[in-house]
């Protein structure tokens, strides 16, 4: 009731017909002759920009396979693919309002988000940990009492740190970067002694830093998060196509090749190798694909 009232209110406010949503993403793609992929600029190595500022990465490759499947299904070989850079602030509204059809970034699949959007089967699992300077000798969260700890505004890591703080009675001085690069810069310039974030992102930032050997990823795992490609909710036809494509990749072992290419070999722009083997949970999720939210792990 509440929901219908406010929806009506919003539409009256805009005094324009709602964007035709009932017809589904596939119809929208067929009608417009194009599909828009949401991309991230520095989510290594899932979705980021190369030296030509073109989007590349593990999730971009997977999305391109989905686009191929869309082309085949709609018999539209000349489908136009557009990229739209998204941030963690605008990615969900942009998927909801039809700007982005498929978000190929690094979005955690959790219950709160499932109210707004749908997710493809989990294609990556990240552990939230911390990066420190080796010289600091920090090995565990317990050593951070009273020290400045960096994280990025508007990410789930903030909540995790707070929850942990409460549970363990540790008192961090939280400092916030507006994006991961800024947060890492805080660690680099000693504004913070640790940076709490998804471990794949930390590995990417360290690998591209000025002195990769000065940093280490240490400490307990604050959270295990399933990362997945995001699409609009309530669109079973498109969801099935996406699910089938991703499951197909997993069944045929193609996902392992993609994984090896992005996590276990040198990658652009600076040809560094993240050396980031698959976690046990990810291996399991490739065996038996699932789009269950983080809360179920």
């Amino acid at each position: 009731m509440h929901r219908r009232l406010s929806t009506t209110l919003f539409l009256v406010l805009l005094a324009v017909p709602a964007f035709a949503q009932d017809s589904g993403t596939l119809k929208k793609i067929r009608d417009s002759g194009g599909i828009t992929l949401g991309i991230r600029e520095s989510s290594y190595p899932l979705s980021y920009l190369d030296e030509k500022q073109q989007p590349i990465g593990y999730h971009i490759d997977i999305c391109n396979r989905i686009v191929d499947a869309v082309k085949a299904k709609l018999k539209l070989p000349a489908l136009k693919v557009t990229h739209q850079a998204v941030t963690s602030q605008n990615r969900i509204p942009l998927v909801s309002n039809g700007t982005v059809d498929l978000e190929c970034g690094s979005t955690t699949n959790n219950e709160a988000r499932q109210k707004q959007v749908a997710f493809a089967p989990t294609t990556f699992v990240t552990n939230v940990r911390m990066a420190v300077k080796k010289a600091s000798g920090i090995q565990s969260l317990g050593q951070l009492g009273g020290k400045p700890v960096a994280t990025t505004t508007g990410t789930t890591s903030v909540q995790l740190m707070r929850a942990h703080e409460k549970g363990k009675g540790i008192d961090f001085k939280e400092v916030y970067g507006k994006d991961h690069a800024d947060s890492f810069l805080m660690l680099e310039t000693d504004r913070a002694v640790a940076f709490v974030m998804d471990d794949n992102l930390l590995a990417g930032l360290i690998a591209t830093s000025k002195a990769p050997n000065n940093y280490a990823i240490v400490g307990e795992v604050l959270s295990i998060e399933p990362i997945a490609i995001m699409l609009r909710r309530g669109d079973p036809e498109f969801k099935k196509l996406v699910d089938d494509t991703v499951k197909g990749l997993m069944k045929k072992g193609e996902i392992d090749k993609l994984y090896a290419r992005w996590f276990m070999s040198p990658i652009p722009p600076r040809q560094v190798n993240l050396n980031f083997p698959k976690s046990e949970l990810l291996k399991f999720l490739i065996e038996s694909p699932s789009d269950a939210p983080a809360e179920s792990y």
Binding site: R3, F10, Q89, A112, K115, A163
Partner: protein
Amino acid sequence: MNYHWNWGVFGEQVKAGEETYLDWLITGLGWTLAVSLAAWLLALLIGIAVGALRTAPSRPIALLGTAWVELFRNIPLLVQMFLWFFVVPEFLPPDWGLWVKQEMPAKEFATAALCLGFFTSARVAEQVRAGIGSLPRGQRDAALALGLTLPQAYRHVILPQALRIVIPPLTSEFMNVFKNSSIAFAIGVMELTFQARQMQEDSEQGIETYLAVTLLYFICAFTANRGMAWIEARTRVPGLIARTS
């Protein structure tokens, strides 16, 4: 639109804590007001001084004022914020630098207020200079002829008139301070925009969050506008053409 509305979200508890989202927004509003007002105070003090310097008869002093204005008004605020936060401390002696970066109390707040204050001071200085320029030359000459020194002439004759003249354009700048303070989130000040980003991530109710925050900014700027209008009405110089609006 395929959006799950939830207007009750503001009363809900945040994920990791006892407070509600409304508490977050109120904290954010507090920091927005603190940064804006501190920056405005700084901008007024420096801006009036620099604006007056720019009209000084001594060329080097006037140039110094000009240099200040050009430096701070010709670089986007977002870039200045970044420079103050990440670059300036690197040029301090290492011990001081480390103190500024780790120990200084309310370091994000201080950096943001300083940066926004300097940025705004350049614009205030321009208005003050224009205000002084619009006064008839006779005012200064008469003051000097009465035996006042130049600083006295500024203090008692020129500035009191010029400041009243520039209240309308300063109103705009005062409103701008509140709006520009939203950029302070970039260095981690926990003001409104920052809280909006947190709340959006925590609750996944982005549109409700941003509507509420937009409304709060609107109220701030509107209050600033009315406040300045009140001051303007109280301090109007009799005999000059009053600008209405």
